[in-house]
Amino acid sequence: MRLLAIETATEACSAALYINGEISEHYEVAPRQHAQLILPMMEQLLAEAELKLSQLDALAFGRGPGSFTGVRIATGVIQGAAFGAQLPVVPISTLAALAQRHYRMQGARRILPAFDARMGELYWAAYEVVADGLVTRVGSEQAATPERVDLPAGEGWQGVGTGWATYSEILTQRMGARLTAIEGGLLCSAQDVAQLAVRRYTAGEAVAAELALPVYLRDQVAKKPA
C-alpha cells in the first residue's frame, strides 16, 4: 500500500508518503506559504522514495474544517493530481488528524481537538482511541461557540489545538475535572492524515477526484439583503 497525503488547513504545511507501514514526511510551519511549498514537498517525497505518482494506490488530504483558503489549496492540489494520475482520494477530517497527532505524540486516548474558527466559534469534535491505534470520532463535528459545543461523557479528556488556546477559560470551566490536559499549540500534520487514510482506503472509502471536496462546517458565510 502506497499513499501520499497532504495537509494545509492550519499554519503548518505538510506532505507525507506512506509505503507499507513506513511514513516519511516534510513539515513546515509557514503561514500563507502553502501554495509555494506543497507541490515541491510532494515531489521531493516521491523522488526520495524513487516513486512516480502513478505508482501510488491513493492520495489523501485534510478536507477541513480549518482555514477556508488552506482547505481549498489542499483540495485543489489533490483534485488536480488525482485527476491527472487517475488515483482515488481519501478525504480526512483535520480534527481527526489533529487528534491522531496528539495520540501519536502523547499517547492520550480521549482527545478533544478544537480549532479557533473566529467569529467567536470553534470547530470541534471528540475522539477516542480504541484498539487499532487510530482515533474514532464520538458524536459529530461542529462549528459552535465554546459555550455550546457538545461535551463528551466520561473522564480523562485532553484538549488540543488553537481553539483551546483562545477559549481555555470557558472550556476548562465546562469540562471541570474531566479534563486532564491542554495542548493549545498543536497543528495538523500530514503523516496523521496518511495513517487515518490507510484505514479508510482499506475499508473501501476512497472517492473519485471530483468528489474530493472540502468540509467547511460553517456554511453561513454571507447575509442576504433584507
Binding site: 485543489g76 488536480g80 487517475q86
Partner: protein, 348 residues
C-alpha cells in the same frame, strides 16, 4: 500543442481545450449567477466554494467533448490574476497540480491578456498592432496591443468600471441582478430624447474615463422624476425608468466611443478590438463599428461567448506563452492585483 485553459477569477468557471493547429477543440462555462443573485453581488467565499465543485467536472466534460484523453494534454494554462484571490487559487491549484501529475508545463495567465487576445480565436481576427477597449464589470481600459505581451495602457477608468456603473444604476432602477444586460434591455424601450446625461471627461484631452458621476446623475434624475409621492400611473413609471436607462446607456456608450475614436486618431492605428463583458452591449458594438468605418478602419469583436469570462481565451493566451518557452515552477499563486504592464513580451 494541446493546451487546457482554466478560468476561475470571478463568478464563472470556464474550461477549454485549444490546439495550436486545429484551433479551439472544446469549451464550456458554468455561471454562478444564480448563486449570487440573492445577495445582489458576487460573494467571494461562495464563488470559491463553487469553483472547487465545478472545475474538475468541466475539465472532464471538455475532454469527453473533444474526444481527447487526459494524457494527450501538453500544457495547462490557468488564470492567476487579477480577480478574487480565493477564486483564483482554486483554478491555480487544480491547474498547477494537474500539470505536475501529467508531467507537462503549466503557465499562469493574466485575465486581461486573455480578453485582449480573445479576438484571435476567431477566423476573422485582427493583425497587430491594434487598439483594444476592455470593458467589463471590473475594468475599463484602452490598451495599445503591438504583440503578445506588448501592451501599453492608454487610459482607464479613474473610478467605477463601465460594467460596474451599469450594474449599480440597474440596481437603483430596481432591475434584477445582474443588472447590466437588463438595463440595456429596458433602455431599448426608452425615449432617447427625453433626458440627456453628461459625457464625462470627453471635454478634456486624454483617454481616461470616469463613470461614477453618471450613476449619481441617474439617481438624481430618478428622485426628481419619480419622487416618493408621485401621481404617475404604472405605465408612466415604467416609461420614465426606461427613459433614464436609455439616457444612461447612451451616455456610457457615447463616452466610450468618443475615447475610442480619440485613441484611434492619436495612435494612427485603425484596428480596434472590443473585449470584456460590456462589449456584448449591442448599442456599443454598432456605434463602435460605425465610428471605425468613418475613420477608415474597422472594429473586431470576439463572439459574445468569448466577450465575457471564458476558458478559451485563457487556453489561447497560455499557449502563446507556453510556445515561447514560459512556464511556472512547481508552485502556484493568485495575483489579485496583477498589472497588465508587468507582463513580459513574447517574441513573434
Amino acid at each position: 500543442m494541446l493546451v487546457l485553459g482554466i478560468e476561475t477569477s470571478c463568478d464563472e468557471t470556464g474550461v477549454a481545450l485549444y490546439e495550436s493547429s486545429a484551433g479551439l477543440l472544446s469549451h464550456t462555462l458554468y455561471s454562478q449567477v444564480d448563486i449570487h443573485a440573492d445577495y445582489g453581488g458576487v460573494v467571494p467565499e461562495l464563488a470559491s466554494r463553487d469553483h472547487v465543485r465545478k472545475t474538475l467536472p468541466l475539465i472532464a466534460e471538455v475532454l469527453a467533448d473533444a474526444g481527447v484523453r487526459r494524457n494527450q494534454i501538453e500544457g495547462v494554462a490557468y488564470t492567476s490574476g487579477p480577480g478574487l484571490v480565493g477564486a483564483l487559487l482554486v483554478g491555480a491549484a487544480i491547474g498547477r497540480s494537474l500539470a505536475w501529475a501529467l508531467e507537462i508545463p503549466a503557465v499562469p495567465v493574466h485575465h486581461m491578456e486573455g480578453h485582449l487576445l480573445a479576438p484571435m480565436l476567431e477566423d476573422d481576427c485582427p493583425e497587430f498592432p491594434f487598439i483594444a477597449l476592455l470593458v467589463s464589470g471590473g475594468h475599463t481600459q484602452l490598451v495599445e496591443v503591438s504583440g503578445v505581451g506588448r501592451y501599453r495602457l492608454l487610459g482607464e477608468s479613474l473610478d467605477d468600471a463601465a460594467g460596474e456603473a451599469f450594474d449599480k444604476t440597474a440596481k437603483m432602477l430596481g432591475l434584477p441582478y445582474p443588472g447590466g444586460p437588463e438595463l440595456a434591455r429596458v433602455a431599448a424601450q426608452g425615449d432617447p430624447g427625453r433626458f440627456r446625461f453628461p459625457r464625462p471627461m470627453t471635454d478634456r484631452p486624454g483617454l481616461d474615463f470616469s463613470f461614477s458621476g453618471l450613476k449619481t446623475f441617474a439617481l438624481n434624475t430618478m428622485h426628481k422624476e419619480l419622487p416618493d409621492h408621485h401621481t404617475l400611473d404604472e405605465q408612466q413609471v415604467m416609461q420614465t425608468r426606461a427613459d433614464i436607462a436609455r439616457a444612461f446607456e447612451d451616455a456610457v456608450v457615447d463616452t466610450l466611443v468618443i475615447k475610442c475614436r480619440r485613441a484611434v486618431r492619436e495612435s494612427g492605428c485603425k484596428r480596434l478590438v472590443l473585449a470584456g463583458g460590456v462589449s456584448a452591449n449591442r448599442q456599443l458594438r454598432e456605434k463602435i463599428q460605425q465610428t471605425l468605418k468613418r475613420e477608415g478602419g474597422r472594429a473586431y469583436y470576439p463572439r459574445p461567448a468569448f466577450c465575457t469570462d471564458n476558458g478559451a481565451m485563457i487556453a489561447y493566451a497560455g499557449w502563446q506563452r507556453l510556445k515561447a518557452g514560459q512556464h511556472e515552477p512547481l508552485r502556484f499563486n493568485a495575483q489579485p492585483r496583477w498589472q497588465l504592464g508587468d507582463l513580459s513580451a513574447v517574441r513573434a
